[in-house]
Chain length 314, copies 2
DNA sequence: CTGTTAGCGCTTTCAG
DNA sequence: CTGAAAGCGCTAACAG
């Protein structure tokens, strides 16, 4: 019908009828029905996004970058939070398929490569951030964990720290696995001794308790690298409560450079991505939109970290 | 068609055909099309959610609570981030209408009561958190700012702080306006002098700079209440850098009790909601679903804060 | 340039 | 209990 034509600025239309249609639409308070349009065009203009936890400062910022880009390009974002639950992640992926989402963006999947790839192949288009997928199943943005961990370890070794510990998280996630493995690799690379008893793990909130235990059981530890800044903040406070001076007795390094990192006391030395989290989200979003309209150019982007030196590990 | 009947477990169906349909569905890898279903039923099972900023720890946690509830009840969540931009907020609301979202949840709107109410009346159902709306336009969850600010001021006055300052944010938001006004009201209530020059405001990241300036220009300040914990973290660090002892010289109080509040050094005294942020999200979500299915029972919920006393203001 | 028509994939109503 | 048919609001292809 003609109305469709003016809505979409498509086809030839006389200015007269065009204006007429617009004015009638306006006075009726008409709103086009995107559901019907989606059914007719087989395009939903919806992107499904999956994160382990919205409330994390890290994922939140990534989401914000992606969200902004999607809306600007006319796409709406459907959000799924897995709560780190594998079954939930699969269910959400299935539902995005039923929603006929034009594309899916998965951040830090907890699914293994084979399973995730199978789910993503069923989607119309997919991009993942820091998740393992088989080539072809999705585009990929990932961080170079080997290089970043090497920077941290090297920094500590060069400032004469001799007994390094790592406080990580579970190994369910790409970064979780990589950082722990790369920590060991980096110790070897820089000739430091590897002590499995100095590798601990905790959940997002457990930095304080875990670091405290580590430092009590192993007073010889003089350097701690943490999976992220929140855990590092716990380690800092644990040092303080145990009377260990930072950086005098112990050096502490985190990951992410969250906003509060430089406000902590002592301020936190940390590994910061070469892109802001928002930019990472926007980058992944852009790759997804390119995949959707078929102009996809690259399949993988690898991002580096830089060491931001502050008081906690000068 | 029959398939529809088995999908929805509706109508009478023989177990034989039922099983047959299911097995065929399975081997074809069939996924029902929710877009078509939405068009036919005039229900989308989608909720539109609007926040000023996903990346804030505060909104993130609220979202997480709401999201979990929605998915559990079969609803998907579409997320809109306003970036504190009024026009963007209106656009998103319009688009949710075009999406025929079954309901809309608005957190901390930047729109004024009249405008917001008009937009919400066009939606199928609406709930707002900490936003001003006209009665009837939406259900409402809000915090009792008057009472919470009184607690903070009373606590400081009773510990003999005589010169209190407030570091807030812009007045574009319900909480922003309320906290600043209630600060003045509470000073009067407890017989403290009101000094407009000790009321400052800054953006989310500006706590350090603003507090530093405040303390330099007004060395007599011995108590600072901040709009939230992130700003308070900046104030803490500003005190440290200026050589002012906390809590000896200056007491600092924040709002929200974010995870890092107790890890700061000194740990932060703060006002915590009687519900976790996640619970607030779930509560609002539940109210929205009740509005959608017509079982709505109450129109407004008011939430109190409690003072969590830590080192920064004992 | 503008009106008509046939779907998009589902639900719902009405017969069989 | 199961098939057939109409219709949700839009787009796209085809005539006028």
């Amino acid at each position: 019908m003609t109305v469709s034509r003016v809505l979409n600025n498509k086809g030839e239309i006389s200015e007269a009828t065009r204006q007429h249609v617009l004015s009638v639409m306006h006075e009726m308070g008409y709103r086009p029905n995107r559901v019907a349009r989606s059914l007719a065009t087989a395009k939903t203009l919806k992107i499904g996004v999956i994160v382990p936890s919205i409330s994390s400062a890290y994922y939140g910022a990534v989401l914000e970058g992606a969200e902004r880009l999607f809306w600007d390009r006319g796409y709406h974002m459907m959000l799924g939070n897995t709560g780190e639950d594998i079954r939930r992640e699969q269910t959400i992926l299935d539902l995005f398929e039923e929603d006929r989402a034009d594309g899916v963006l998965v951040v830090s999947s907890h699914l293994n490569s084979a399973v995730l790839s199978e789910y993503l192949r069923k989607q119309r288009a997919a991009v993942v951030i820091n998740s393992e997928v088989e080539a072809g199943a999705a585009c990929h943005v990932r961080t170079n964990e080997k290089q970043s961990m090497a920077k941290a370890v090297e920094h500590l070794v060069k400032s004469n720290r001799r007994c390094l510990a790592y406080v990580g998280t579970n190994m369910k996630t790409y970064a979780g696995r990589q950082r722990q493995n790369c920590f060991v690799a980096a110790l070897q690379e820089f000739g430091a001794s590897v002590r499995p008893d100095l590798i601990m793990s905790c959940d997002r909130r457990g930095g304080y308790v875990t670091a405290r235990q580590l430092l009590q059981e192993h007073p010889e530890v003089d350097g701690v690298i943490c999976f992220n800044d929140e855990i590092a903040a716990g380690a800092l406070r644990a040092c303080f409560d145990l009377g260990r001076d930072v950086p005098g007795d112990v050096a502490v390094i985190g990951y992410d450079d969250i906003f509060l990192a430089e406000l902590l006391n002592p301020s936190l030395t940390t590994l910061r991505l070469c892109l802001t989290k928002r930019e990472v989200g926007a980058l992944a979003g852009r790759m997804l939109l390119e995949r959707i309209d078929g102009s996809s150019t690259c399949d993988e982007v690898v991002l580096d970290h830089e060491l931001v030196v502050r008081e906690s590990a000068p």
